[in-house]
């Protein structure tokens, strides 16, 4: 095994833990725990960003770590918890695929992501390029989380987790996006979350449930 410095090893460990959390989210059926896992993922992301900022000395990474902390660890989970309480959705219904099978599909997704990341990692010049595969895996696993869930709430959590993966990918491929792009994305996520929050209430008003398969049969001549 090639020799890595301690901070790089630590970064790799963070990446591995991010992947682990993605799998935990994939298997979790309680929405409250799902939100907690999301907050934990944000915290890990924040720690990894701080470490990378300290390592590379890039100023803007400190800002994005701060942004991550404020938005993904504190504000969005708080908002989601509040929504859960007000809407009274604590459990997702039985997922479309059973849990062990979803996990197996998840492993295949990870293999696919690692294969996908190989050429990208060869082109990247950063020291953290090995983690690109993990970032792609986190994105795809979040996709899978969204696909296999019915409740709007857990789909939104999957969406936010996907954003975490994207952020981590940008970080490991190029040491983070330019500040203005990062701000834009953060604002986007925030606004999307607020709009979706309103949406939840509308959906429930209309269908008496947050189950999204009602939306599939929506027709004008109902």
């Amino acid at each position: 095994m090639e020799h890595l410095t301690l901070d790089l090893q630590l970064l790799n460990a963070f990446a591995a833990l991010l992947l682990l959390l993605s799998f935990a989210m994939l298997s979790q059926r309680r929405i409250v725990s799902l939100v907690n896992l999301l907050a934990l993922q944000g915290a890990l992301l924040c720690a990894a960003t701080l470490l990378l900022a300290w390592r590379t000395g890039e100023q803007h990474l400190y800002f994005s770590a701060l942004l991550t902390l404020a938005l993904k660890v504190v504000f969005l989970p708080w908002l989601l918890h509040r929504l859960i309480r007000r809407l009274g959705v604590y459990w997702d219904t039985e997922p479309l695929l059973n849990v062990p099978f979803t996990m197996l599909v998840g492993v295949l997704v990870v293999v696919f992501a690692f294969g996908l990341a190989q050429p990208i990692a060869e082109l990247a010049s950063t020291a953290t390029r090995n983690a690109i595969g993990i970032a792609i895996a986190v994105i795809l696993l979040a996709f899978l989380t969204m696909i296999t869930r019915r409740k709007a709430m857990s789909q939104v959590v999957g969406f936010l987790s996907m954003e975490n993966g994207l952020f981590f990918g940008a970080m490991s491929a190029t040491y983070g996006m330019p500040m203005i792009v990062e701000l834009g994305i953060a604002l986007d996520v925030l606004v999307a979350m607020l709009v979706l929050g309103v949406f939840f209430f509308q959906i429930r008003e209309q269908f008496d449930s947050l189950d999204l398969h009602h939306l599939e049969t929506l027709k004008e001549d109902q």
């Binding site: 095994m1 090639e2 020799h3 890595l4 301690l6 090893q9 630590l10 790799n12 460990a13 990446a15 591995a16 833990l17 992947l19 682990l20 799998f23 298997s27 849990v99 062990p100 996990m103 197996l104 998840g106 492993v107 990870v110 293999v111 690692f114 990341a117 090995n130 983690a131 595969g133 993990i134």
Partner: protein
Amino acid sequence: MSWSHWLLQVLQVALALATAPLLVGWVNQCRAWLQNRSAPSALQPYRVIRKLFHKDAVIAANASPLFRLAPYVVFGTMVAAAAMVPTVGTGMPFTTAADAIALVGLFATARMFISLAAMDIGTAFGTLGARREMMIGFLAEPALLMVIFVASLISATTALPAIAAQLVTQSAGLYPSLWFTAVAFTMVLLAENARIPVDNPATHLELTMIHEALLLEYSARHLALMEWAAALKLFNYVTIGIALFVPWGIAAEEGAFALLVSVPAFAAKLLLAGAGIAFIETVSAKLRVFRAPEFLATAFLFAVLGLLVHLLLTG
């Protein structure tokens, strides 16, 4: 191979034979403390084994020779397995004779015989226990192999003492892949040793028992050997875990001084592991039998993830 290596080998097997019941006693004691019960003495398993050896054996009229043979085979395989797992030192002659994959094969042999013997008498419970044991075994085995493969990839050998020596002598690094596999290994350990999320070692409730159902027809010295073998199995698993994940303190070079350090270190690790098992057993509830595949699939998943992470992060 010098005589000191053989001495170490004999010492390790003797240590395993002598301390295995103590480990079981310690786990039971910790469990009792955690559950606010008054604890039995940690020496209780020794007393049980001695009592059983002094009794007369009762064997069913229709038992075949296999039934009589099985306790000796199971006990023998567990002793052989104990000879392969490094406990206090790594320089052992058995290293060249058998590796970790042979070790998994030995465990499978023991499982095979214990299941056949349980079905031999033809009681319903024996058959039920054998089927469940096989189901858990065939799910736990790939996970265990995968755990060993990850450790082998890191140290480029499948011999357990060599893996332990490699991990000790290498400059300390963080291996996220080993963390994943450690979780997987813990789950396999619980499942294979009839511990709580999968089986309850303290129950004789017919609908849930697995390990106890296998031993229902045994008595006296046969039962004593089976109990001792079960204790050895737990001991072996715990020492495999120690060798793979926390080998620090093991005597990687020769000399009495190294042993002076490694024996107390090993004892401390064993105590911690026993307390850890008791803690896990206390905080978790027993799964339904049909949830056990899910539990073991998760273990396998963790092991595969460890493998993938290892391949990616070092590639």
